[in-house]
Symmetry: C2
Subunit: 283 residues, 2 copies
């Protein structure tokens, strides 16, 4: 099976994918590295990949709006659906060439989110180093291998250091240890997995007063809990919004809620049904 | 009065500010240009500016999450409040040095959002030009004046071209003409303006089921319409969210709603009361 990921081998997308697919040991997985989120969806649309694993939100950074927009676009155009979710604890590491020290480092490469997540460490220990944005953490590690300069460092996963055979100068340099990224597993023309108990929807309400409240009431009356509500602009309607909802329901109870919403003139798009990840998070 | 803005003179922040402060002709306005959103808030905190004008959302791009986070942080630490709002129609323009033509251009500088808003034009007319991100549209125009190279262009406002005395090679190159940015006027230790009829709040609900639905019900029962609902992660609580709400209420009716929310164990932060902008948008 070919799986598209944003980033290269050693990236957090790769690590999350490994954790997902190790539960399917009968599958031989080939990763298709992509530079951008759009390229990941495009790989599915062009049948260059069978599934993809894509970050949707980070517990410190928030939602990745671009991925929300792409999910809707590619669901409508190419029937791409969500078939699973998983969270990954994110540790950032300062990775260098052998023989480098903090004193030698003048430039640090990484993905902008990884640089932001490590800003306290960088400010304290490398205040004068230039921070250069790169499209992927693991690719920034591969880049410093190419440069062969002990004055450059990268920020990435422990796996990316291991794959490049480079030392980790400082481990776990993220600002806050409550640092998790939630990933979605997506595929075109997929059927909902057995034992699905969660769903992701896009909701467009009428423009009447309290329309969102009324729509949420349909979920509440059915006893369906919502775990996420994200608003995005409706393009072409200035200051009008649509809502991306994650609901703890699937199958008949979910379809009953959708039927009621549609009957009250809401537009509903079902992005997928899947098994909710049952995880507890360290405080 | 000193007003901090993100960007320099000729930026969209400057244009929006001019429209706001032209209603206060008795005031002598001095603009304090800032490279980042954080620098704008910092200028208020350090008393280098009396007020600031800051973009909060764009009708094509969506909310600017960083500004939501900064509003809460600086409200709590420095009593920075919202005192007004206004929307600005955004037209992007391809600005060049005299004598330049589309055929000569190899590099285009601008703010990443302006580059994204002009992506269709760039793909059609300048598919091979390098797109270079700059911190501000107007500063990218000033930058091409420094470079004095007819192979470089910038994307920015008509005002930024006029101020730099440069020609607009193509006007209104934005992908979609429903392109508005909403700005907030903010100030530390401000009292709510007379005739306020709108407010911005941060709401943290209990973690009971249907907690958001119940909280929205308090607004609905009071007949208070919500114009915006934005979720942001609560740092330190993995996959727990707080909500930024814009409500069409101020004064007593608003305080009654807040009192009821607090009585039902919600945490509420009032970011400011102000006059809602009464504007119709072209379809």
């Amino acid at each position: 099976m070919r799986v598209a990921i944003q980033g290269i081998v050693g990236s957090f997308h790769h690590i999350a994918s490994n954790h997902w697919y190790e539960n399917l040991p009968e599958q031989n997985i080939e990763y298709i590295p992509c530079e951008t989120f759009e390229a990941v969806f495009s790989a599915l649309a062009q049948k260059q990949a069978d599934q993809a694993v894509i970050a949707i939100e980070n517990s410190l950074y928030g939602s990745i709006s671009e991925v929300y927009d792409l999910l809707k676009e590619y669901h409508e155009s190419y029937s791409v659906s969500i078939i699973g979710e998983l969270s990954e604890r994110i540790h950032q590491n300062l990775i260098v060439l052998p023989g480098s020290t903090l004193e030698k480092i003048t430039t640090v490469f990484s993905h902008p989110v990884a640089l932001a997540q490590s800003s306290d460490f960088l400010e304290k220990h490398l205040p004068n180093a230039q921070k250069v944005e790169y499209y992927d953490t693991a690719a920034s590690v591969a880049h410093i291998v190419e440069l062969q300069d002990t004055a450059v460092a990268a920020i990435g996963s422990a796996l990316s250091a291991q794959l490049a055979n480079l030392p980790v100068l400082h481990a776990a340099i993220e600002n806050d240890h409550h640092n998790y990224t939630r990933f979605l597993v997506i595929a075109p023309h997929a059927t909902a997995p057995a034992k699905s108990d969660k769903a992701s929807l896009v909701l467009q309400t009428t423009h009447q007063k309290a329309a969102l409240y009324t729509a949420l009431g349909v979920f509440a009356e059915a006893g369906v809990n919502l775990t996420k509500l994200e608003s995005r602009p409706i393009i072409g309607k200035v200051w009008k919004y649509q809502f991306y909802l994650d609901a703890e329901a699937a199958g008949e109870p979910l379809y009953n809620v959708i039927t009621k919403l549609v009957a009250s003139n809401c537009r509903v798009l079902l992005l997928g049904e899947y098994m909710a990840e049952a995880t507890t998070y360290e405080d």
